[in-house]
Amino acid sequence: MFELSNYHIQVLAFMGINIILAVSLNLINGFTGQFSLGHAGFMAIGAYTAAILTKACGWPFLAATLAGAMLAFLFGLLLGIPILRLKGDYLAIATFGLSEIVRVAIVNFDDVSMKLAGYVGMGDLWPKEITRGALGYPAIPEVKSLLWIYGWAFVTCLVLRNIVRSSEGRAISSIGEDELAAESLGINTARYKTLSFAIGAFFAGVAGALFAHWVTFIKADLFKIDKSIEILLMVVLGGMGSLSGSVLGAVVLTILPEYLRMFAQWRMVIYPVLLILLMLTRPEGLLGKRELSSVIAGLFTRARRSAAAAAT
């Protein structure tokens, strides 16, 4: 009988979290066509908020997860309004900057908030340690449950599928297709860009909360640009604008590095090379904009056709 070792369970957990991250980033980068490099920032917001709420305030896990996700959502909404006026490379740089600001804010949160509290005469009441800065946030209550992670992964996929296959989703996709044409048909593109950005941020926040309670120790450095790029790579590999593609991308790019462990320090060399090779051979990703179900259906009809051709 095959037993899952702790190591395998850990890989499965990260795979589930990566699925949530990749699918939600695909809504922003793939469907809406807004190139974001800031997903790790939203993940950090969710991770820290939920961790602080469960550890320091004793909140239940689900409530803390939702609170972290809501805060990420609000950040996405508020920051999306000015930032999404930018396009292409400029947007990518701005979202990258955004996630760096989040990271630096977490590192300096205790010092700055302490001083601010001092100014308004609340210095004695204010807790000395909230995010614990660069030291990292330890001893988060452990929630090592694949059920939570895959439950959330399922919810993420279902919610995003329902959004994409609705009028709201058509408005979002039309922006990725041709923003001017979308405007000409009465679609408030600014609104839907911001909405999709915030929804993506929400699920990144969920992923962050799950991650924090699995590893039980987080620090701001875990949510740097490498993490954002890692997620982006999953989306690109699977196909921008294909939800099942993102799931596939997350699965492949969680397992692959495990096999590459013997070349650990070469990982960030192999990754970009992989990305370049992919761009050269299959610029639209593994599935392109199609979903896995339609690809399989297509394979069946092709097989049937060739069988029919062979019969005649």
Binding site: V159, N162, I163, S166, S167, E168, G169, R170, A171, S173, S174, E177, D178, L180, A181, A182, E183, S184, L185, G186, I187, N188, T189, L195, G241, K289
Partner: protein, 256 residues
């Protein structure tokens, strides 16, 4: 009350006057042509009317609403919808989804209803589907409803763009060179189709076109734009004989 009344609309880009003193009043159901040599500012007029550029001067009142300074999507929601000179399709969506997208702002369910798949979602989706299929049938595109829009031949894509604009249910349709790139047979078909669309949907049309026979054959009134200024306007026969128009198009007679 006129459907559209543009008064003294002008646009200056930097130091360049692209359109000057453009004035046009259109009745509901009227068919007006906008002609002029290349670079005369015809497309700029479209961009100004439909909110893609804010005008530098003048005012635009559409269907009783002052839409001057409105954003493009707001103008479209009022019922003034344009097509583009270079087709702008949602290329990787299906033909049907292209039309459905255009119904977005009239959809009677919100994000929560979509996520939870409440009854209103199904009801509305059914209505939208039926609505769009009817429109596709009318334009003889129902046979390709499930095809990816970008894979269609050029003529079909041009027709699809009109179908998609109609899906917004406009009161005024602005067509930017609908016959460009079509062969003579397709052009004749388009002419018949536009006439029947107009009868069926009772909408007004403003169209930019280079094909003179086409414009003369379908428009009740024609405006001639040269260097951003309206140099003539009137019935097709009047325009055909107007010496200023002839000069703008053919040059003066005694060129040595």
């Amino acid at each position: 009350m006129p459907l559209l009344s543009a008064d003294n609309v002008g646009k200056v880009f930097g130091g360049l006057t692209a359109v000057k003193g453009f004035t046009l009043s259109m009745e509901p159901g009227e068919m007006v042509g906008l002609i002029g040599p290349n670079g005369a500012g015809k497309t700029t007029v479209f961009n100004l009317l439909t909110g893609f550029f804010p005008p530098t001067t003048g005012s635009i009142v559409f269907d009783g609403v002052d839409v001057t300074g409105y954003k493009a999507w707001q103008v479209a929601q009022q019922g003034m919808v344009r097509t583009f000179q270079n087709i702008r399709m949602f290329s990787s969506l299906t033909v049907l989804d292209n039309l459905k997208t255009a119904q977005h702002f009239r959809t009677g369910y919100g994000l929560a209803e979509a996520i939870l798949r409440l009854p209103r979602y199904f009801g509305e989706e059914k209505r939208i589907h039926a609505d769009c299929m009817r429109l596709l049938e009318h334009l003889e595109l129902d046979g390709v409803a499930g095809e990816i829009a970008g894979s269609l031949p050029y003529g079909y894509q041009k027709r699809l763009e009109i179908a998609r604009a109609l899906s917004v249910r406009p009161k005024l349709l602005l067509l930017d060179e609908p016959a460009a790139g079509l062969n003579p047979t397709e052009t004749r078909e388009l002419l018949a189709r536009l006439t029947s669309i107009r009868k069926e949907f009772g909408l007004a049309m403003l169209l930019i076109e280079h094909d003179m026979k086409f414009v003369m054959g379908i428009c009740e009134r024609i405006l001639v734009l040269v260097y951003g200024e309206t140099i003539a306007q009137g019935l097709p026969e009047e325009i055909r004989k107007n010496p200023q128009v002839l000069e703008a198009y053919l040059g003066t007679e005694d060129h040595s």
